[in-house]
Assembly symmetry: C2
Homo-oligomer: 477 residues x 2
């Protein structure tokens, strides 16, 4: 097993240096590679295959809720970006500007889209005329660019892949319903597919999206206790509609502004998968999103019949994503490699197993060994993958709950922020001054005002005035 | 039927003004909408759904031939673009330049990728070390930008969607095999899915890709007789490998350069679908790629049981992409609309049909009506969709063959080019001077040197020196 030891020694321990552990995993599991463009990454096959599974599953959920995919230009003329005041203030400082096409200087600069509200609004103004044209439920899969100063793979990069839903509705009520519906789609996806529990809630005024009336978020907790904003859904009211003149004729022949929403998740979710489930041996992927669910490793591969049996097993396992490793690396090296890649189940098959008509299944998450008769293999794999999926969510939930702390006074909040990791729940008066003081003195930002409210005290943790709501605070990526 | 007439009257006849007909269809079938960014288009749900079907089918073919998907940055630093001399000369004049990030001027300009050879080469230099790392068979789905002067939806736009395969191999033989294999994948896809016959062949030196040793192409003929280069596959030799220093250690521990290929198709294929199959009533989509294969139109929808029956039929038709139109538009209007959208089969069901336990199927391509007992519906639809797919390919092949003309002397070639539409086959000596003369005097460009060679004369159609090969000439999009 010296191979295995060496392989694993090359990554930093998660509890020694979480940030270094993260970048080690990202490189060692071959998810990304750096490029010569600052802050831009190459998403390698192992990373992109995870993204494809995320896309496929989410896209089905979007279509099942009536959404259609479109593609907008990647460029936004400067004048178009400026149409909505709050929006341009939020994004203009961090966009990339195209100033030349070929050898000619452009009359108007174009920014590379940081998000596409302005383009969707322009399009909606063109195609929405009557109440019959509503609702418009559009989504787009694309890449966007934000000129960040410091970057980290998947979590914050100059360019990233995402989807952005943009919808237009006849009424405020319908738009509000859509905003919450899509937040719930994200939350269900995170729990059912990524095995990541989330807190659903509303962002404070300070933290909301540039141009939104309200921003909703799902917040998840990483293994180091930090929060990751994992998806957002915005209610825009008719602010963009007024700025872009998106009007329709209603059933009474009156002109009305539409009400809009937007919502998005990104390749950031891959960062969440790594930081919620990974361990000192590498990635741990939930079966629902793992590109390979079962890695078959022939033992004593040179012995007659072993490789044939491994392939026969692979062919019999229909409905699972299976891979046989027939390379000439040692079994120990392969064990470590598939642990690094986070493959949920390893299947070992050697001459002795073949004699006994069995094989060994090894769970990536618990390392539990399950000796399984070949006649029951398919059912056992199906059951074990389901168990892994369920157990991973449960462990992540326990981790989060154990690291969620209630503070009713400011000193305790500061002390907790200093000594503990995780989410800190505290009452808030709604005043931005308190939010800023908490950021300054406890180094915590408001994560969200959770939908599930609870009254843990009567007064604001900061100013002691009457509290309006319970808030989740934390340190965030 | 006055609704229907009016609907159709709004598009220009194909034989009166083919270019205007094309843009009418593109707008009227709601495939695209223009945006405020010159030369960039919004791909609307009807257009994007076709692209999704193209992607899905091609992606399966790429994966079945061992390829993996990755994602590269959208920016290329100017110095990286310049590493391969021919390549930069070909692309630099038509790229978009990013010069500012936020408010800061960049130290080095970045171009928005017009194609990603340079990025893949940089990445390959980083990750290829040993013969064990080969081959690398990567593909990427993304958008690219080329700063074109004149643009047309799908055919030539500043930004377009495509896939680009980039592979690295240990030997020239393997790389050459890959180049031809992927050209064949494209050709089969075009014939089997898009019902578009193609001529496979090699580009002349003059027409090959910037940086390639050899470029292979599939050429299809549009309804107006013009050629559309529908996909290309390039053999690079070790030219890029030398420019980017992509070397590996072979089994004898010797350093070797890799041999590379690249290959791509784009949203241009949607333009081909329109121009090969469309008619004066709109789009005609082959069933294999049509977002909706069967449009169910209830007749006398207000009568009891009609809509229920239509929905019951829709639910029973598993395995087909079916849509029930229950809007309050008239049946006549709906007939025209689904003809405009190119839906392969229309299914009419009214009170009289219900009494007789039957319905009417109407083929989009031939308008043939097929009265079908409901008990045989699924089999009939399956058979008819197959017939449509086969017949569309056959008609396109006949059109192409009827408009392919052989010319053995220069006068005939010029006369044909003047009087006829289509492909012109003529012998060529291989000299670029003759190619240029043909372009100048007959206004024809070389489309390809076809794989299927035939000797229709001994001498070059232009200079009368001994001929080297048969060439397809044409006017091209």
């Amino acid at each position: 097993m010296s191979d295995q030891k060496k392989f694993v020694e090359e990554i930093t321990s998660r509890d020694v240096d979480f940030a270094k552990w993260y970048t080690d995993i990202v490189k060692k599991a071959e998810l990304i590679e750096y490029s010569s463009v600052r802050g831009c990454m190459v998403i390698r096959p192992n990373g992109y295959a995870i993204w494809e599974n995320i896309q496929k599953n989410l896209d089905e959920r979007f279509k099942a809720t009536g959404h259609e995919n479109v593609y907008m230009p990647m460029f936004i003329p400067e004048s178009l970006l400026q149409k909505e005041k709050d929006h341009v203030e939020g994004f203009a400082p961090e966009v990339a500007w195209v100033t030349h096409g070929g050898s000619e200087k452009l009359q108007e600069r174009l920014c590379v889209r940081p998000t596409s509200e302005t383009l969707f609004c322009e399009h909606y103004a063109n195609i929405i005329h009557s109440y019959r044209d509503l609702p418009k439920l559009y989504n787009q899969w694309c890449s966007v660019v934000r000129w960040e100063k410091t970057t980290r793979p998947f979590l914050r990069s100059l360019e990233f892949l995402w989807q952005e839903g943009h919808t237009a509705h006849a009424t405020e009520e319908e738009a509000r319903e859509e905003t919450i519906k899509m937040l719930n789609v994200y939350a269900q996806f995170c729990e059912e597919v990524l095995a990541i529990p989330v807190v659903k809630g509303q962002k404070t005024e300070k933290e909301k999206f540039a141009g939104a009336v309200e921003t909703y978020t799902i917040e998840s907790m990483m293994h180091d206790g930090k929060a990751l904003q994992s998806g957002t859904s915005h209610y825009f009211g008719d602010g963009f509609a007024k700025a872009f003149d998106i009007q329709y004729t209603d059933k009474n022949n009156q002109l009305q502004y539409v009400h809009q929403t937007s919502w998005g998740v990104s390749t950031r979710l891959i960062g969440a998968l790594i930081m919620v489930h990974g361990d000192d041996n590498g990635l741990v992927l939930p079966p629902a999103v793992a590109p390979t669910q079962v890695a078959i490793i022939p033992i004593a591969m040179h012995k007659e019949g072993v490789l044939d049996k491994a392939r026969e097993i692979a062919n019999s396992l229909t409905g699972f994503r299976v891979k046989v490793d027939d390379t000439d690396n040692s079994p120990g090296w392969k064990f470590s490699q598939y642990e690094m890649l986070g493959v949920p189940l390893r299947l070992e098959i050697g001459p002795k197993d073949i004699e006994k008509n069995q094989c060994v299944l090894v769970r990536r998450d618990t390392r539990e060994k399950i000796f399984t008769p070949l006649s029951e293999l398919s059912q056992q794999i199906s059951k074990t993958l389901q168990d892994i999926q369920k157990d991973m969510l449960e462990r992540a939930r326990q981790m989060r709950d154990q690291n969620t702390h209630d503070a009713v006074d400011f000193d305790t909040l500061c002390k907790f922020a200093d000594e503990k990791i995780g989410f800190f729940r505290a009452m808030w008066c709604g005043d931005v001054a308190c939010e800023e003081k908490i950021k300054e003195e406890a180094a915590l930002t408001s994560r969200c005002i959770p939908f599930e409210q609870e009254k843990i005290a009567d007064t604001c943790v900061c100013c002691k005035k009457p509290a309006k709501s319970l808030v989740y605070w934390g340190k965030a990526y």
